[in-house]
C-alpha cells in the first residue's frame, strides 16, 4: 500500500488516490488532421515499463487534484511527485 505525497495535501494512504495511467501523453491539438494510426497511437498505446515510469494520479478522496508521479515499478518506490504542467524532474528518464 503506497504512501503518496500529494503535492497539495502531503502524505496520504494509497486508498485516497486513483491512478490515471501514463503521464505526459498530450491530447493532440488537431485530431482531425491525424491518420487512424496516429490517433490510435494517442488513444490506445501505453508504455508498461519495468523500471522508472511517469504516472498520473488523482487525489480522488482528498483535494481531487491531478498530479504526476515518478515511480520505479520494479520496487514500487515513488521517487518524485510534481504538479500538472510542471516538467518531469530531469534526473529521471
Amino acid at each position: 500500500m503506497f504512501l503518496i505525497n500529494c503535492p497539495f495535501c502531503g502524505e496520504r494512504d494509497q486508498s485516497e488516490f486513483s491512478s490515471g495511467g501514463e503521464a505526459h501523453i498530450v491530447r493532440p491539438k488537431q485530431p482531425t488532421e491525424l491518420s487512424d494510426d496516429e490517433w490510435a497511437e494517442y488513444l490506445f498505446m501505453r508504455k508498461n515499463i519495468k523500471g522508472i515510469q511517469f504516472e498520473r494520479w488523482n487525489h480522488a478522496h482528498g483535494c481531487r487534484k491531478w498530479f504526476n508521479v515518478v515511480r520505479d515499478t520494479s520496487n514500487d518506490k515513488i521517487l518524485s511527485v510534481y504538479k500538472m504542467g510542471e516538467k518531469p524532474p530531469v534526473n529521471y528518464k
Binding site: M1, D13, Q30, L34, W39, W66, G85
Partner: protein, 1000 residues
C-alpha cells in the same frame, strides 16, 4: 486422573483452577495454561486425526507452527470456530473444544481405514483417479470428495462478535518480543522514537523467558532473570507502546502492516460479552525491526508422527514455562545442541531421558554438562522406527554409516512414552519476504536468511540466523544502532556467557533399511504428505518447488508448511542432486496465521456494509409502499404496488396514468453538476457532441457525452442558468465518474479554461411531473408563473417560488409527455413532494418508479446509457447522428467517430423490435438470429430493453442488431429454450413520433 504437572512456575497461577471440556469430557487446568499445556498436564497427547490417512496425531509444538492440535472451539451455530491451534489458545473457564477430522471419535475413527489403504492413495491420487468416466464427476466423485474435504466445521449463522479496526503511525515497529526485539524496542524508544512492540504471546520474553541453564548467563544472572529485568525497564519507557497477544498478519509495501490483536479470546464466556473480540491494527511505520525468531525443525524418519512425538524445545517450554512434563521416560533425538538444554532441564526435574544424536560427536559446554550429569547419549545414531498406536511406547535406533547414507549394525529397541525431536532451527523469514526482501542460503546449517536490502526494514535475532545468545545480543545492538542511526551504549558492558555449538550434521531424509515405499516418513503432518510423495512427484517429472508443493499438497494446510517446507526443499535438492540454495523457496504469503473474516471486515457489517443514499422524499416512498431498486448507492422507488398488485400490474397502471393524466417521479438522484466560469460554454462544446455556444439563457439542451474512443459515455440535459452558469444533469449511476472525467480534462488538458465544477447532486431534490395534466398541477403550485407555451416552452427553464422558497423548474421530458422538473433545496424536498401530491389529487397524479420511467421512455425510443449501450456504441450506432455536430472543430471522441472500425456499416446498431404476437414480451439479453438452422447459428445481436406497453397495448423492445439500420421491416428470430419468437425490426420510436404530446 494422571497429573503431569510436576512443578510450580511463575506463569501458572495454581490458585486459579479452570475447568474446560475437551471432546465432551471435563478437565482442569490453571490460569496461564494454553489448551495444549492443560491437555498435556492431563496426560492427553492424542488430539486429532490426520487429514488423509486419519492417523492418530498428538500435540507437536507450543506455538503458531502447530500442525496437529487444531480444534473446533465452541458448539454454538454462530460462534463455533474451526482450526484453532490448541498451542496458542489460552485456557479459560468454560472453554469447550473438540478434535477435528474424526468420526465417531478421536480414539476410534472409521476413516483410519485410509491408513491401511494408503499404498492406493499416493500423491496426486485425486488427479489420477477421478478423471474417468467423465460423467461420474458431478454425481459421484465430487459429492464424495466434498464430504471428506476441509478441516473442521464453519459456523452456520452470522458472527455476533464485535471487531474493530485501528490506524496507527509509528517511527519504529518491532515485531516479536523475544530478547532481540526487547533490546531493539528499548534502544529505539530511549532515543525518543515513537515505538510499537508487538508479540503474539500473552507475555514478552520469547524462549529466553523460561531459560534456566547455568551455562547461559548475562551479567552473571540466568538469562531469564536478566530478561525479566529488561522487560520491567522497557515498560517504563514513555515512547514505547507494547501490544501482546498481537500478531502481524501481513507486511505490505511502504511499511504498511496489518496486525491482529486478540482482546477477548482468553476470557470466559460471560466476560467476552459486549467487548471487541479482535482488533485489526493498520500500522504505518517509518522503520520496521523484524525479530520473529525461529522455529524448531522436526526430523524425517519412519512413523515420526505418533502422538507423544514433539519438538524438543516444546517439551522444554511445557516443562519450564507450564510446569508440565510430556512424559516420564523421554528420548530426545537431535542433530544439534538445543535438545541438550531440554535434556538437562528434564534431568533436573527428575525426568529420565536419553539422547540420540545423529552427529558423530559433539563438543560444547551443554554437551559436557549433559555428560557430567550422566545422561546417556547415543552419538552417530538415528531413530529408524517408532511403535505405539495411540501413543508412542518404544522406538528403534540404529548406527549411521560413515557417510550418513545408510544405517549399519543392529537395531536397538528403546522404550519411551515421549520422543522429542530437533532437526535444527528455521529462521522465520516470513515478514522479511512479505515485505519484498530476498533470501540467502547458508550451507553450514542449511537455513535461508534475510538478505539486507532495505533501509526501512531489518531482521535481528534468530530470524536472522543468529542462534546463540551472545551473537544475538551483540549483533542486534550493533545493527539497531546503525539502522536507526543512533548511538546507544546501554549494552556496551553487558557480559554474556553461553555455550557455543561447534558441530553440525544435517540429513533431511534419515536413512532406513526399510524401502522408502513401505515407510511413513511424514513431512507435512497436517496434509499427510510424506517423503515418498515428494520423491514420487520428482519421479513423475515435477521439478519446480511450486509444482511439487501443489501436487503433493505439502505446505498447503492451515499451518502453511511452517514445519514442512524446509524438509520438502531439502529432499527435492538431495534427490535431484542440486544445491538447496539454488532451488528457491515457495512464496511466503500473508496472513502468517489464519485470520477470521470478522477481523478483516471490522465494523463494516450489516447496515454499515455499504453507504446507502436516500433522497429527501424517501420517507414518503416508504410510507406509500414503494418497492426500491438499488441504483449505485441510491435507493430509488422501483414501483408502488397498490392493493396487492404485482410488479407488472403496478407498472401498467402507473404508465397508463402518466400518459392519461399525470405521473410524478422522484428524480433527485440524477447527477447534477454546477458549471460556472467565463469559458463554461466552450467547455460544454468540447465535452458534448453537439453545439452549446448558441444556447440562450433560460434554455435547456440534451447532450451526449463520448469517451475519447467515440463510444457513448453519458447523457443528460444541461440548462443555461445565466451567461456563465450552467447546470448539467448526468445519469444517476454515472454522476461521480462524469465529474472525475470532466475534472481530468479541465486540470490536465485544458487548464487555460476558466471553468469551475461543483457536484450539487445532493443539494437539490427533484420532483418530475409529467402527463397531459401536468401544466394544471404546475399552475396550482406556482400560481404566479406564466406557464403558457409561449412563455415557458419545452426545453426551457424558469425560476419560481413555492411559499417563498426558490425553485428551478425545467420543462424537459424523459417520457415524451409534457413534463416539468421542479428542483428545490434538498431540505425542502419532502415538502415539495407532498405539495405536488396534494395539488395533483384531483388529476389522479400517480407516483411512479424507475420501472415505469423505463417503460415510458422506451415507448418514446429514448436510450438509457448503460442499458441500451455498453461502451461499444457510437452515436451513429444509436441512430443519433443528429446530435453529432459536423461543424465543431473538436470534441471529446470526435476523431474516433471516423476510425475505420467506427465507420463500419455492419456494426451493431440500435433498432426497435415488435413481436409478431403482440402479447409476447421478449427477455432482455435474449440473442437475435435470422436463421436457426445454420450451424453454428450466426448471432446478430441481443435485446437491450423490453416491455409490454399499456399505452400501445402491445409488446415493444429495443435491441442492438448487426447492420440493424438497414433492416427495418425484416423478420428476425429470438430462439428461446422452448420456442422461437418471431419479431420484426421497427423504428426505435414507438409512440408520438411527431412530438405532439410534448408540446400539447
Amino acid at each position: 486422573m494422571p497429573n503431569y504437572r510436576i512443578h510450580k512456575t511463575e506463569y501458572i497461577d495454581e490458585t486459579k483452577r479452570v475447568s474446560f471440556k475437551y471432546d465432551g469430557k471435563t478437565y482442569f487446568g490453571y490460569e496461564g495454561d494454553t489448551l495444549a499445556s492443560a491437555l498435556l498436564a492431563n496426560g492427553i497427547h492424542l488430539v486429532g486425526r490426520s487429514f488423509k490417512y486419519h492417523r492418530p496425531r498428538g500435540i507437536v509444538s507450543c506455538g503458531a507452527e502447530e500442525p496437529n492440535a487444531i480444534c473446533q472451539i465452541g458448539s454454538k451455530k454462530d460462534l463455533t470456530e474451526p482450526n484453532v491451534r490448541a498451542t496458542e489458545l489460552e485456557l479459560y473457564e468454560g472453554l469447550e473444544a473438540s478434535s477435528q477430522n474424526c468420526w465417531p471419535n478421536v480414539k476410534f475413527d472409521i476413516g483410519g481405514i485410509n491408513n491401511f489403504i494408503s499404498p492406493l492413495i499416493p500423491a496426486g491420487f485425486y488427479y489420477k483417479t477421478f478423471m474417468w468416466p467423465k460423467s461420474f464427476w458431478k454425481k459421484v466423485y465430487e459429492p464424495l470428495i466434498r464430504l471428506s474435504a476441509g478441516l473442521g466445521k464453519s459456523p452456520t449463522e452470522p458472527d455476533p462478535d464485535i471487531y474493530d479496526h485501528k490506524y496507527v503511525h509509528y517511527d519504529v515497529l518491532v515485531i516479536g518480543g523475544g530478547v532481540s526485539g526487547i533490546i531493539a524496542a528499548k534502544m529505539a524508544a530511549k532515543n525518543n522514537l515513537k515505538t510499537l512492540l508487538v508479540d503474539d504471546k500473552k507475555i514478552l520474553g520469547g524462549t529466553t523467558i523460561y531459560q534456566n541453564n547455568e551455562s547461559i548467563k548475562i551479567d552473571d544472572k540466568l538469562s531469564s532473570e536478566w530478561l525479566k529485568n529488561e522487560i520491567q525497564e522497557i515498560k517504563k519507557l514513555s515512547k514505547l507502546t507494547i501490544k501482546t497477544r498481537t500478531s502481524i498478519a501481513a507486511y505490505h509495501g511502504y511499511n504498511f502492516l496489518l496486525a491482529k490483536e486478540n482482546l477477548t479470546d482468553h476470557l470466559p464466556e460471560e466476560k467476552k460479552k459486549n467487548k471487541i473480540r479482535q482488533r485489526l491494527w493498520k500500522i504505518r511505520a517509518k522503520k520496521v525491526v523484524i525479530a520473529t525468531g525461529s522455529i524448531e525443525r522436526p526430523l524425517v524418519f519412519n512413523n515420526n508422527d505418533r502422538p507423544g512425538i514433539l519438538l524438543s524445545n516444546s517439551i522444554n517450554k511445557y516443562l519450564d514455562y507450564y510446569g508440565v512434563t510430556c512424559g516420564e521416560n523421554i528420548i530426545l533425538f537431535t542433530n544439534n545442541d538445543s535438545a541438550y538444554e531440554t535434556s538437562i532441564s528434564l534431568h533436573k526435574k527428575g525426568i529420565k531421558n536419553i539422547i540420540v544424536d545423529l552427529r558423530k560427536s559433539a563438543n560444547s559446554e551443554l554437551i559436557k554438562q549433559a555428560e557430567s550429569l550422566g545422561i546417556k547419549i547415543y552419538f552417530n545414531h538415528v531413530v529408524t522406527n517408532t511403535f505405539g498406536y495411540r501413543k508412542i511406547n518404544s522406538l528403534e535406533i540404529m548406527k549411521l554409516s560413515e557417510d550418513g547414507n545408510t544405517t549399519v549394525g543392529n537395531k536397538i529397541r528403546l522404550s519411551c512414552d515421549c520422543l522429542g525431536m530437533s532437526g535444527g532451527w528455521t529462521p522465520m523469514v516470513h515478514m522479511h519476504t512479505q515485505s519484498g526482501g530476498k533470501l540467502d542460503f547458508r550451507d553450514e546449517d542449511q537455513v535461508f536468511l534475510p538478505k539486507e536490502n532495505s533501509e526501512d526494514q531489518i531482521s535481528v535475532g534468530s530470524c536472522n540466523g543468529d542462534f546463540d545468545l551472545e551473537n544475538i545480543i551483540d549483533k542486534t545492538v550493533n545493527k539497531i544502532n546503525k539502522f536507526l542511526d543512533i548511538d546507544n551504549q546501554d549494552y556496551q558492558d553487558t557480559n554474556i556467557i553461553c555455550s557455543k555449538e561447534n558441530d553440525k550434521r544435517n540429513i533431511w531424509l534419515l536413512p532406513n533399511k526399510i524401502p522408502l515405499g513401505k515407510t511413513k516418513c511424514f513431512i507435512d503432518f497436517q496434509n499427510d504428505s510424506t517423503a515418498k510423495d515428494i520423491k514420487l512427484a520428482l519421479k513423475e517429472g515435477f521439478r519446480s518447488i511450486e509444482h511439487v508443493k501443489r501436487y503433493t499438497t505439502t505446505g498447503m494446510a492451515t499451518d502453511q508448511g511452517k514445519l514442512s517446507n524446509m524438509h520438502a526443499l531439502g529432499i527435492i535438492a538431495d534427490t535431484a542432486g542440486v544445491k538447496m540454495g539454488t532451488l528457491g523457496t515457495t512464496t511466503f504469503r500473508p496472513p502468517f496465521t489464519p485470520l477470521t473474516f470478522g477481523t478483516l471486515v471490522g465494523r463494516n457489517v450489516g447496515k454499515f456494509f455499504e453507504v446507502v443514499r436516500k433522497t429527501s422524499m424517501h420517507e414518503w416512498h416508504v410510507k406509500n409502499n414503494a418497492e426500491f431498486e438499488n441504483v449505485g448507492q441510491w435507493k430509488r422507488p422501483w414501483y408502488y404496488p397498490k392493493n396487492g398488485e404485482n410488479m407488472h400490474d403496478a407498472v401498467q397502471r402507473e404508465s397508463k396514468a402518466a400518459r392519461d393524466s399525470a405521473g410524478i417521479l422522484d428524480a433527485s438522484t440524477l447527477g447534477k453538476i454546477d458549471i460556472q466560469g467565463s469559458d463554461a460554454s466552450e467547455f460544454l462544446n468540447r465535452v458534448y457532441t453537439n453545439a452549446w455556444s448558441k444556447l440562450a439563457i433560460g434554455k435547456c439542451r440534451y447532450g451526449l457525452m463520448l469517451n475519447e474512443d467515440g463510444m457513448v459515455y453519458d447523457d443528460g440535459v444541461t440548462t443555461r442558468i445565466s451567461e456563465n452558469h450552467y447546470l448539467m444533469t448526468t445519469t444517476t449511476g454515472g454522476a461521480a465518474n462524469v465529474l472525475s472525467k470532466l475534472e481530468d480534462y479541465l486540470q490536465t488538458e485544458w487548464p487555460e479554461l476558466d471553468v469551475y465544477l461543483t457536484s450539487v447532486t445532493d443539494h437539490y431534490s427533484t420532483a418530475s411531473i409529467c402527463g397531459p395534466n401536468s401544466k394544471k398541477i404546475l399552475n396550482k403550485l406556482f400560481p404566479n408563473l406564466d406557464s403558457s407555451d409561449e412563455n415557458f416552452p419545452h426545453m426551457s427553464f424558469k425560476e419560481g417560488k413555492l411559499e417563498n422558497i426558490n425553485c428551478r423548474i425545467m420543462r424537459i421530458s424523459f417520457t415524451g409527455e409534457q413534463s416539468y422538473e421542479i428542483n428545490i433545496e434538498s431540505k425542502y424536498g419532502h415538502s415539495l413532494w407532498k405539495m405536488c401530491i396534494e395539488a395533483g389529487k384531483e388529476f389522479n397524479l400517480t407516483p411512479y418508479g424507475t420501472e415505469t420511467m423505463h417503460l415510458l421512455r422506451a415507448e418514446k425510443g429514448f436510450i438509457i446509457v448503460g442499458q441500451d449501450t455498453d461502451g461499444t456504441m457510437t452515436p451513429s450506432d444509436l441512430q443519433m447522428d443528429w446530435i453529432v455536430s459536423k461543424k465543431k472543430f473538436d470534441f471529446i471522441g470526435k476523431r474516433s467517430l471516423y476510425r475505420s472500425d467506427t465507420v463500419r456499416e455492419d456494426r451493431k446498431q440500435l433498432v426497435g423490435l415488435l413481436t409478431d404476437d403482440p402479447k409476447e414480451i421478449l427477455e432482455e439479453g435474449a440473442q437475435i438470429v435470422s436463421d436457426v438452422k445454420s450451424k453454428p447459428i450466426d448471432m446478430l445481436g441481443h435485446v437491450t430493453s423490453s416491455y409490454f406497453s399499456p399505452n400501445l397495448n402491445k409488446s415493444i423492445a429495443l435491441a442492438v442488431v448487426r447492420s440493424g439500420k438497414t433492416m427495418k421491416g425484416q423478420k428476425l428470430i429470438i430462439p428461446m429454450e422452448n420456442k422461437n419468437i418471431n419479431v420484426t425490426v421497427s423504428d426505435t420510436i414507438f409512440l408520438d413520433k411527431e412530438n405532439k404530446r410534448l408540446n400539447a
